[in-house]
Symmetry: C2
Subunit: 151 residues, 2 copies
């Protein structure tokens, strides 16, 4: 389905507006998919994201602002996400001894195990999209998105 068919609008629209709608719609579809893939594991997409960031630290503990910075969604409320992960024993949190304003967040082995279970499932989901496109087209799509954002 093209975006035109999806919204079956009566009035014609500018290419800009069509792109804006199309990005929104496509992102919705992607998010729904991820969500349903994660659901059986009792973890939200955002919590999953935090776990991946922590794994990326390779042992080094992360503080809250580092996590926030990497989250793409400006003001995801990191405190409350970490609270949830803590309750599931997927992360640890302790006050940084050298600077007691900061927190040191680490991933537990239980957290790492969950991620290694999830990895293949997520890859499968991500690679379900764009199957009908060549690598060149995929790269072009990313390049056009980069250019689109460029104000």
């Amino acid at each position: 389905m093209t975006i035109e068919e999806v919204i079956k609008s009566s009035v014609p629209m500018s290419p800009q507006k069509r792109v804006v709608l199309n990005i929104g719609y496509t992102q919705n579809k992607l998010a729904e998919g991820i969500q349903s893939v994660l659901k059986p594991f009792d973890i939200s997409a955002e919590q999953f994201n935090v776990l991946r960031i922590l794994r990326g630290q390779k042992g080094k503990p992360a503080n809250m602002s580092l996590i926030q910075e990497r989250m793409l969604a400006k003001t995801s409320n990191t405190t409350r996400l970490v609270d949830k992960l803590l309750a599931k024993e997927l992360v640890t949190r302790k006050i940084c001894p050298s600077n007691r304003r900061k927190m040191e967040i680490g991933i537990t082995s239980k957290g790492l195990e969950l991620l290694s279970e999830l990895d293949p499932v997520i890859v499968t989901h991500e690679h379900a999209y764009g199957q009908k496109m060549s690598v060149e087209e995929l790269e072009q799509l990313s390049a056009l998105l980069d250019k689109f954002r460029n104000l």
Copy 2:
């Protein structure tokens, strides 16, 4: 900034994954923008969306399922959005006389006035993006997004 620079990941990733991330990031940026544009008018992006759908009905009242269907976000909780709009006197809601299970939602003149105030502001925001692209590139971007979703 390219998406690579945004996430500064240490490991290389597949073109598919890069696109997935890029769509998410771009949509975030767009949503933030819309939100800040609507903020002074005390209306959320979702409420704005419902209002536009109602205007599109050109006088015909809409029932809840019609609104839901047009909302792109599968399960936006239409009841609660309409509640908010009702409180601001931007819409009307009454039980459909021919089928009392249904609701008839209409936009008030106050709602229409708000929309006509918002229209130019939104267009300006939408057209801020993609300024550095040709119409052909914008159309190509939409086409690639359509193709990407095509499972």
